[in-house]
Symmetry: C2
Subunit: 124 residues, 2 copies
């Protein structure tokens, strides 16, 4: 899905819904800085999510193939390690590029409008 759409220039189609949900956006940003991943409890606290909410969003990301979840034991303590997959890293980078374009477009439009309003006020 291309971001630029000549017929519908403000369709924002290229924004992958899996990443665009703000809790998942936080999870992705958090994981992006950790090549070796993060344990569930650390991810929960850095993203300010409840246990249930984090679980739900991780499931969406895992089903899309964007993260890998590894469960194991450290001694007798169970742990859950979450990390980005190569696909997740690439697609997230694509998403950020589209988001940058959208933001640039939005900034240009808010500026254009600002000057139009000033001009209208001065001539009126």
């Amino acid at each position: 899905m291309a971001e630029s759409n000549q017929e519908a220039p403000f369709a924002c189609e290229g924004l992958d819904r899996v990443f665009h949900e703000k809790a998942r956006l936080g999870i992705m940003i958090s994981l992006a800085g950790h090549a070796d991943g993060l344990v569930f409890s650390d991810l929960k606290s850095t993203c300010g999510l409840t246990h249930g909410n984090l679980n739900r969003h991780l499931q969406v990301l895992e089903e899309a193939g964007y993260i890998r979840i590894e469960k194991g034991y450290e001694g007798r303590r169970p742990y859950t390690q979450v990390r980005l997959s190569a696909k997740g890293r690439t697609r997230f980078s694509d998403y950020l590029a589209v988001l940058e374009q959208v933001l640039r477009k939005a900034r240009a439009r808010t500026r254009i409008n600002g000057s139009t309003r000033v001009a209208a006020r001065q001539s009126g």
Copy 2:
């Protein structure tokens, strides 16, 4: 709601859900460039939305007080004019500022991780 949260740095709390939904983001960007607003049919085509979808999203924006919808007649033809409210313009600008911060953070994290991976590969 502040975007920066010391305890949960990746919470993305400041991203107003009303704007963050991608169809509504497109509607807002589209309206931002038109001080006098847009008629329903133009908004529908620039945003690539169906009649029903556009109606539903406009309702959300109107309930939040971010847009004003004016219905009238031009001769015998009915029209629906949609424009940003002053509140909508201000809040959208705030939203864009938060989004910019989030994007900067994401870019910094993806870069950090990139170099960590390279360093790990070189030393391993």
